[in-house]
């Protein structure tokens, strides 16, 4: 049995937490933007599966990681167009269309993988990039500043999203159509356009999340996400629709997962208690929310299609 509280193990745990948190964070931030505009997307997992597949396939065929990231993003964007048409243009019920997207993504990514690839083949993984100076900080540098670019991007998107929502005209539009679309509409803000763009942004980020997941792993398998997208949606609620809160949720989730794995590796958690330990991230997430007892209210128009007559 090893010792958890050695610096190297703690550093590895932190690094692992950050890696695990990256796809959650990207997807949750995207979902946050969508939800702030009043659109719930339960299809995040499906988007991620499709983008993960296309990213993976791109690396497999071209070996180009950045092209793969772009392909992941564009895949998300493309599904976003579909989702936008369904929910915004056609005002279809968001809950069910999201689940439709999820099932579709689950099936199609599996199908394409089986047809185009078949046997899992490893591809290049995202390389870690050291940030000058910062990466030299003892321990901290290794945990935080020797990560891959998508991880950096994910964390940079936290202030960026916060800024977008709180300081830009478009963010103002997003918030207003998510709270009171009638009011926004009466001032000439196009509810439809705002929501559509928010959906595109959100889905692109879900696309990036899929790319991050698969490129951190270097391999694809059917149902690679294992429901990750649903947890990402849950984390938006956990984070109370604020980018920083969402980041807290993603990190908490990643950290608990990483710690459980580390403790299993060290034998601190016996094999027989393995199952109970596996529920720790979920239980802690619920407990955290009960303790924090944040009485924040969802965007008032969340899931409500807007029609003017």
């Amino acid at each position: 049995m090893g010792d958890f509280f050695t610096l190297s193990v703690l550093v590895a745990t932190a690094a692992s937490a950050i890696r695990l948190a990256t796809p959650y964070l990207l997807a949750s931030l995207g979902e946050t933007i969508g939800q702030r505009s009043g659109v719930l997307n339960l299809g995040v997992d499906g988007v991620m599966l499709l983008s993960a597949f296309f990213s993976y396939w791109t690396v497999l065929e071209t070996g180009n990681l950045w092209l793969a990231v772009l392909v992941g993003l564009v895949t998300g964007l493309a599904v976003g167009v579909l989702y936008g048409v369904i929910t915004v243009r056609l005002s279809a019920t968001q809950g069910i269309s999201g689940i439709g997207i999820f099932i579709f993504g689950l099936g199609l990514s599996d199908l394409l993988f089986r047809r185009q690839v078949g046997t899992p083949k490893p591809v290049r993984r995202l390389p870690n990039v050291d940030i000058p100076v910062l990466s030299d900080i003892p321990y901290l540098g290794e945990a935080l500043f020797q990560r891959n670019l998508l991880t950096y991007l994910a964390f940079l998107l936290v202030p960026a999203t916060a800024l977008l929502l709180s300081r830009t005209t478009f963010g103002l539009n997003i918030r207003s159509v998510g709270e009171n679309p009638q009011a926004a509409d009466s001032l000439g803000v196009s509810v439809e356009r705002t929501r559509f763009i928010a959906i595109l942004m959100g889905n692109s980020m879900a696309g990036l999340a899929g790319a991050a997941l698969v490129l951190q792993l270097g391999i694809f398998q059917p149902n690679l996400t294992q429901g990750l997208g649903f947890i990402a949606v849950a984390l938006v609620y956990f984070g109370a629709w604020r980018p920083v809160g969402v980041m807290g949720g993603a990190l908490l989730y990643g950290l608990v997962n990483a710690t459980v794995l580390q403790w299993k590796a060290l034998g601190i958690i016996p094999v027989s208690g393995s199952d109970l330990a596996n529920m720790a991230p979920a239980v802690l997430t619920i407990l955290a929310l009960i303790v924090l007892a944040r009485r924040v209210h969802a965007p008032a128009a969340l899931t409500r299609p807007f029609t003017r007559h």
Partner: protein, 305 residues
């Protein structure tokens, strides 16, 4: 129509075989091992596969469907399908059901059972791993603690300890499918001085990638996993079910439709340690491994299970 024709041979007298498997048939692991094995049979076989049936009830429906469709042999490739098979097999007395991994046929005379002595290859892999490890700490990534995963991992642990490893750290991630979790489990091992890794089930593809990036040797099981890390896979214990399938089919030809249990092992050639020639083993290690295989085969080495 639903009145099933009893036994019918395929076109040109081909034997009609169906496999129902829980994961993808090209998963480089458990399911693929059976598909490869049937394809390796030296017989004229018309093969149908239903894969990805991790839901037992769906598998049961597929098994029944294949029997109804007039297949000669239906392979229920998953221990968890046994409960349903006990209901289905009696309804189709002319069909041979092949069920594994399982160590007995539960008294049904049209069911053959099969199981791998996965501990044997695990033991061999473990002992080689021990000789490659400098830290003496070896990591294992497993799915859930069940089936041949347990056998392999226990055998591996015994072999590694016998080979001089000081610690074998075992992580069961709790999932057959979560590739990311398997990868992070491998990372966790690496953080704790592990310098040789192994793992079992289809989600280990994630862990292999981690091993490959860290330059840590990997040992495979179920199927040959060399393609996952051409430089770092040392050896894979490969399941060659065809050895026992052939025996079953021969029995069937002679009118015995089931009732016997089979095991693949190193001795009968059903388990084969396939070395990766691209990985250069230190001198003597390969010889020691061959000797150990020999020892297990003739019973002089005990894998501890």
């Amino acid at each position: 129509g639903d009145d099933a024709p009893a036994t019918g041979s395929g076109e040109g007298g081909a034997l009609r075989v169906a496999i129902v498997a829980p994961s993808a048939s090209d998963d480089l692991a458990f399911s693929q091992s059976m598909v490869d094995s049937v394809n390796a049979l030296e017989r004229d076989v018309e093969l149908s596969v239903t894969d990805g049936t991790f839901i037992v009830e769906d598998a049961a429906a597929a098994i029944r469907g294949y029997a109804e469709d007039g297949n000669d042999v239906v392979i229920a490739h998953g221990t968890q399908f046994g409960g349903s098979l006990m209901e289905i097999a009696p309804d189709f007395p002319d069909v041979t059901f092949v069920w594994g991994t399982a160590s007995d046929t539960q008294g049904l005379d049209n069911v053959f059972a099969y199981a791998p002595a996965a501990d044997e290859g695990g033991y061999v892999n473990g002992s080689i791993a021990a000789s490659l490890s400098e830290s003496g700490v070896i990591g294992v990534v497993g799915p859930i603690e069940a089936g041949d995963a347990v056998a392999y991992i226990n055998g591996f642990e015994a072999g590694a300890i016998a080979g001089g490893a000081s610690e074998v750290n075992i992580t069961y991630t709790g999932s057959f499918g979560d590739v990311a979790l398997a990868a992070e489990a491998a990372e966790a091992h690496l953080a704790n001085k592990v310098d040789v890794l192994t793992g079992t089930a289809q989600m280990v593809v994630g862990a292999v990638g981690v091993a490959a990036d860290a330059g840590v040797p990997w040992f495979g099981t179920q199927a040959n996993q060399t393609s996952l890390a051409p430089d770092l896979v040392v050896a894979s214990q490969v399941y060659h079910w065809e050895v026992v399938l052939e025996e079953m089919l021969t029995l069937r030809d002679s009118g015995v439709l089931g009732g016997q249990a089979f095991e693949i092992n190193l001795a009968n050639g059903g388990l084969v340690i396939e070395f990766n020639d691209a990985f250069e083993l230190p001198a003597g290690v390969r010889d020691a491994a061959d000797a150990m295989i020999e020892g297990i085969t003739n019973g002089t080495v005990n894998t501890g299970s």
